[in-house]
Symmetry: C2
Subunit: 197 residues, 2 copies
Amino acid sequence: MTRSEPLARLIEQLQRLPGIGAKSAQRLAFHVLKTPREDVDRLCDAMREVKDRVTYCSVCNNITDQDPCYFCTHPGRDRRLICVVEQPENVVAVERTRDFRGVYHVLMGALSPLHGVGPDDLKIKGLLARVAKGADEVILATNPNVEGEATAIYLAKLLKPLGVKVTRIAMGVPVGGDLEYADEVTMHKAMEGRREV
Amino acid sequence: MTRSEPLARLIEQLQRLPGIGAKSAQRLAFHVLKTPREDVDRLCDAMREVKDRVTYCSVCNNITDQDPCYFCTHPGRDRRLICVVEQPENVVAVERTRDFRGVYHVLMGALSPLHGVGPDDLKIKGLLARVAKGADEVILATNPNVEGEATAIYLAKLLKPLGVKVTRIAMGVPVGGDLEYADEVTMHKAMEGRREV
């Protein structure tokens, strides 16, 4: 052991974080070493506060520090328009568009038989109950990959008999991108989803 | 404010870390949210322990949890062979070669008039004192950039009158690389430093 023991332990802990490899972990650890103690305390307090105060909304399963959450209690939000996403972080992505005025329903995952995730592992019952109470449209905004697509198809089958309009977000070439870099599946979806101008 | 307050605060704190942008900070914050409380505590404890226990070696300025450090006290290390580096993390890089058996001297930076770093801001006096007490060779392993090179030249001028052998690490094309990707300065150094085979 040639390096300082506490530093080695910190590097080991940092490497467990997603997207942090050996090099990044070392850089971060040396940064912590040079950072004033107060800054380190602030980061730790922020992490612990997230663990202590953030919970999940009992209505939509989004993360929140009050229950029901901001979206479910907001008077300006249309409770009859429900956007279904896989994870709480997906809510952030939809909100970034700044023009969705409905509410959310977070599934907490996507169907993935390979990883042992079945319908009972997702928050589907709550969604069906909400729709049964009354909804105009359910937007399926699960990820545009195999799991998200399978989940969307599964949900559509369950939701349509309830008499609600079920839609799926559009898939196609990303704005600002270049056709040259579009893969064939995306390009296929873009062609298939073409609209008259 | 549509997101949870504690989560927003954590994202803000995470973004201060080097190499962590808005996207990574969000991903890390959501990871913290899903991580068991014990893991978060372990990470915080590791960070605080680094702040509390890790100090700098009074001989070589390397980071250590005992003073003098591992290298300066190791009986198998040649104290007459001193490798000069800019930062404690550079010691790790040299150690990785597994064949340097000398000791280190960490400058805590490099000369950089543009950033207001002059000779008095670096740990140069301690190095001169160590060499004056007796040394066979000083290897200048400062970074292969403008600041590191200037620092190496400056140190060489101070050290040579003390009658010690002063060497500089080789610069050239990196092993495993491809000549096609070598920039012209590196290629120039590689040609200049060529050796007979």
